[in-house]
Symmetry: C2
Subunit: 339 residues, 2 copies
DNA sequence: ATGAAAGCGCTAACAG
DNA sequence: CTGTTAGCGCTTTCAT
């Protein structure tokens, strides 16, 4: 049977309070008993129960995180970093993918509430303000990836999506691409912003990107076959495709390859996020960088601060996107063989 | 403030025992009070504290999982599936990547012990028997991915690695590849087995693969540049490369591309696992399939059974690997342009 | 069918 | 510097 603090106390010949104090380095304990207790703990292989501790301290040292799909490398990387950082701080994380299912989303929130997580990180964009209000009533800090929101107790961390879209458009334009199409998940505000920035640039140049050049689609790896039919829909006269996430871009390139096209010779593709996939794909993917590591670090740090101080203000952090040039976009002027 | 079972009981005008019973559907409660209590719960937005419940039930409904690197898509997919399955059963999982760091591994085990997880899933291969013994002393069920082990309380789920390696070799051989090299992480027994099977086939054909045709390396995305130098080391006369995981294979192809080689024309590459990467890479990757979904499902089911019955036997499940033919291996006979 | 009360393992005053 | 004790929120006998 697992030893408890009582067992340790008994063997060490002290009270449980003393044991508790040496474990938590609180109060004043003489060096002698401290060492002695430590030894007993080691010998008995005693591990304090974090759940009992959580119950009395009312802090679980657990953070919940809700994302649309962990297969999306952007969320994959964020989660991975978060796990590392959290672990450094002795926190653990509970992860949930909701696949854009509102039911699942609510269900997960309740699940996290039951787990009494100290904070919740939200990467999905379905959650209504109502849910956030409900969380606020319980006074639990929230971090929102994606679109900022000025709400009590919520920390927003994002990249300037509009600027990023604008950047992508400018790069394509400078490389001679006048006809483009866009593939993204327009149920997400953040991706709409990217699209808006993209269109805005072209509009400035007198080029209007019509709605039927835009495909809205939740990127899913599993059901890619229907995507093959979609990817070129209405794209007869197009030379470049803007995929609003790297994940989507990789799926796009994959579909294009399956259709027998070559990238960037037949189609140029530009992504958004600058995840691992962008570097590993073939051709490597030109994309808009989000500084994932910095974002994650800042997010965690602010969250920690909110948890510990129990402060209740909101914070909005907007990072600046950057273009990462790789191989998936060709310069149409230099490429005479372009269709 | 978050309502407790006492608040609910008071508002509903019943005892906390009654409330507890309606929540857990235990004992006998009249339909009338049951409904009434349920209503009060809904109105108050009461969520039972799973940590308080865990303390008294001595079950946390949490499972710990330790893998070498979650960036490896094999573990990524397993984890994703596990999370889904676990969630269906109202379990949550705590994930940890150890990056083959023995210190981290031990530290994580202790962490999980403190979290009082109901079971531990181990994907790493460093953990000594000693650690498993220690876990057994606490009577906590263990599931081991990778190499089977016949130990009390541990469930092993694996693919026949030797057979898989053999299969890979046969396929390469049949496609005319007589000179090959191998890249894998030989600190892992499972990958050694794959290598052994691979070599065994070639040996049967009278071809000996010498040790210097084998590169042992932990697949890491971050530091790939040194890998570029390595990938072709001693491979002057080679036509095909066996990477013992898909992750490694993708990194290998990436390095090869950076060196200006084309796949499969300059080098054929075969992987192991059949993860998402295999389908998304360009060229798509010929690989040995592990039935990840089935493995994960079986693993969870057996683990659940062990948790609930508190039975203490061991189980060994070995799945059969299968070759998945894609584009990364060429037939050397048909390909006259081969170097 | 319902409730009283002991206990799960730990923390945090408070007393000594 | 050390120990006593009252919770933390819930489950579970055992009475009633």
């Amino acid at each position: 049977m697992r030893p408890t603090i009582y067992d340790v106390a008994q063997v060490a010949g002290v009270s449980i309070a003393t044991v508790s104090k040496v474990i938590n380095k609180t109060g004043n304990i003489s060096e002698k008993t401290r060492l002695h207790v430590k030894n007993v703990i080691k010998e008995m292989e005693y591990e304090p129960s974090s759940i009992a501790s959580a119950l009395s301290k009312k802090k679980t040292k657990t953070i919940g995180i809700i994302v649309p799909n962990i297969a999306n490398p952007f969320y994959g990387e964020i989660t991975r970093l978060l796990e590392q950082i959290a672990n450094r701080h002795d926190y653990s994380i509970i992860l949930s993918s909701t696949y854009n299912h509102p039911e699942r989303e609510k269900q997960y929130i309740r699940f996290l509430l039951q787990k009494e997580v100290d904070a919740i990180i939200i990467g999905t964009e379905l959650l209504s303000d109502q849910v956030i209000k409900k969380l606020n009533k319980r006074n639990i800090p929230i971090a929102k990836l994606s679109v900022p929101i000025e709400e009590k107790n919520v920390i927003s961390v994002t990249t300037d999506n509009y600027a990023g879209g604008y950047l992508a458009a400018r790069y394509l334009y400078e490389n001679g691409h006048l006809t483009t199409k866009i593939i993204g998940d327009l149920t997400r505000q953040s991706e709409c912003d990217r699209v808006a920035g993209f269109r805005a640039f072209y509009k400035e140049k007198g080029i209007v990107i019509s709605d039927d050049q835009i495909i809205s689609r939740e990127p899913l790896f599993e059901e890619e076959s229907p995507f093959i039919d979609l990817v070129l829909k209405g794209a007869e006269k197009v030379t470049a495709i803007f995929s609003t996430t790297d994940f989507q871009a990789v799926l796009t390139m994959n579909a294009l390859h399956e259709l027998g096209y070559s990238i960037p010779n037949d189609y140029s593709v530009i992504g958004f996020d600058n995840t691992m996939y962008a570097k590993l794909s073939q051709p490597t993917l030109t994309t808009i960088e989000q500084p994932i590591r910095e974002m994650t670090e800042l997010l965690f740090q602010q969250l920690l601060c909110a948890i510990e101080t129990e402060e209740m203000t909101y914070k909005v952090n907007v990072f600046t996107p950057r273009l990462i040039e790789r191989q998936s976009v060709c310069n149409i002027h230099k490429n005479s063989s372009y269709r």
